[in-house]
Symmetry: C2
């Protein structure tokens, strides 16, 4: 079972407007709304690949109820704890008459009490005991301590042999690394924000930053680089994955799809698309098969860009994209 | 009883951000959320003045439930009809580090079926029979015919002697005028959008536009002019109300507070602030006392600007502001 942790989930609202004009009254031409938060996206992608997935975290209020119902409807085991506060929203504003990234408005998370955090840790412990892989994604809501992911890693180690993947930034990332996760997946900004990475080129800086996170205690590091692909720095070597065909679409959630792919291949779970003909076997990075693992995960990330919303993928498209991923081993002196 | 009609209500969300930067990820520092829509704001202000108020309109889904609960909690008789669609939201983005108006994102309203509109008209008929004043405010959701307010005016006339006030724009305003409302309250943009008003000065254009709406069939017209006050064109004469002291604050909902004040004074209902000493008697514009009516309504509009959210007023502040309203009769040839 893959267990995804989302401590600060959100209802993701997408507004389409012709153009975002400051201080104007604007007509929203289309509204999309779905339950999100990075860990929920990971769970959706893994479930779309027919994996056995449970999602936990902290939810509350009317929107928490909506989120739990959405998660259950997506075929995910819904294991969220209830809190007194109301689950937050994020609003993404897409401008149909101007190309570029959406404008993202992130509400602060609801405050979490000590009792709520204590209760969550107990619930998490029993869930982690059943897990093969645990993913921990995103920011922490107010009231949850900065070493929350470090604590959850220790809890996991105490009850199971599950692989742990952490996708966050800042102090929570640094503290998590010290607890020895199997893999961390920061994006470039999170990596450079958490380490004093120096280097002449972009790749040098990414390699130095990733080495820094390994020095802190992370066994392996995969850095997502947006349209430039990703870089893996592992005990077995270093790899760069890049895309020869970049689909146009919505890049929000591509990093979460990458994490889902890495979770699937942490224990050699095959993506559903590979079942019929067996030609696309997932690599098992825990056994050192990084090239195949990165290929599968990158294919899912690309398929996610093609989909309308974060957390959506077509496994068959992911399989096709995976064939267009170029994997190169990075040789030379390790940073 | 004052009956307010809100066919396209909304949950109003206000986001505070440092600065609205396009295509960036922005942290929302503060979130306000309250049930709104122009007619709901009118009902809130009238209820805050201790008037007997009922609110009706069309609501649906989780947000409709939230809106009905909020209305009831504000001491308003909650008489909304249920629809299958989900009540819309509006999002106002306030920039704390840049002065100026908020950026407003308006979701489209939910689609209304013929059966839902038929059902509403029946419910409205029984409510209108009990009303002294009926206010009809705001836009129409998809599926409701453009002559909706005209129809509701005719229904009102068939069951009661209630005064009818309409606050809308465009074709719904023009069609409403033809059904003979007692008062219409467009803002300047709505007025100039609905009439071919010509004139040398701003005041000339407003007077010409208001005369145009009277020609269409409205008995009286009050045009709200934002910080410039308002102009009344009536069978008893023409007046201009202006403020000698303009409070800084949130202008959203000031027009709704003006309508609430006009509703209170349609039948000589005193605002609560006047009860103790009787010094601030409301004018009864239906009896020709426009100067007092405009004074009370303008005081409420100013108090609304001072309040944090649309639909909020402190009646005592409204009374103080009313003393600073300057009322001048506009003499000369009627446009």
């Amino acid at each position: 079972m893959i267990l995804t942790v989302t401590l600060n989930p959100a209802i993701d609202v997408t507004y389409y407007v012709d153009e975002l004009v400051r201080q104007a009254g604007l007509r929203v031409t289309r509204v999309l709304e779905r339950s999100g938060g990075k860990g929920v996206n990971v769970a959706r992608v893994a479930a779309a690949c027919a994996a056995d997935v449970a999602a936990t975290g902290l939810t509350g209020g009317r929107r928490g109820q909506q989120l739990r119902a959405d998660v259950a409807e997506a075929g995910i085991h819904e294991e969220f704890c209830r809190i007194k506060g109301e689950t937050r929203r994020t609003v993404n504003i897409v401008e149909t008459e101007r190309p570029g990234l959406p404008t993202e408005l992130r509400e602060p998370g609801p405050p979490i009490s000590q009792a709520e955090w204590d209760h969550f840790r107990k619930r998490f412990k029993s869930l982690a005991a059943e897990a093969d892989v645990v993913t921990m994604s995103g920011s922490l809501p107010p009231g949850v301590p900065a070493d929350a992911y470090a604590t959850l890693i220790s809890v996991t180690r105490s009850v199971s042999a599950a692989k742990v993947i952490v996708d966050t930034g800042g102090e929570p990332l640094r503290l998590a690394c010290a607890a020895g996760p199997d893999l961390v997946k920061p994006n470039e900004a999170e990596l450079l924000g958490a380490t004093a990475a120096d280097g002449r080129t972009r790749l040098d800086r990414v390699l130095a930053g990733a080495a820094g996170l390994r020095d802190l205690g992370a066994a392996a590091v995969v850095v997502s680089l947006g349209s430039s692909g990703s870089v893996a720095v592992t005990p077995d070597g270093r790899w760069r994955a890049s895309h020869t065909a970049i689909p146009g679409g919505n890049p929000v959630g591509a990093g979460d799809a990458l994490v889902a792919g890495l979770a699937l291949s942490a224990v050699g779970i095959r993506a559903a698309g590979s079942r019929a003909d067996g030609s696309w076997a997932a690599g098992n990075w825990a056994a050192g098969n990084w090239a195949q693992a990165l290929r599968q995960a990158s294919g899912l990330a690309m398929a996610s860009v093609l989909a309308a919303s974060a957390g959506e993928v077509d496994p068959a498209a992911a399989k096709r994209f995976a064939e267009h991923v170029r994997i190169r081993e990075i040789r030379g002196a390790k940073a």
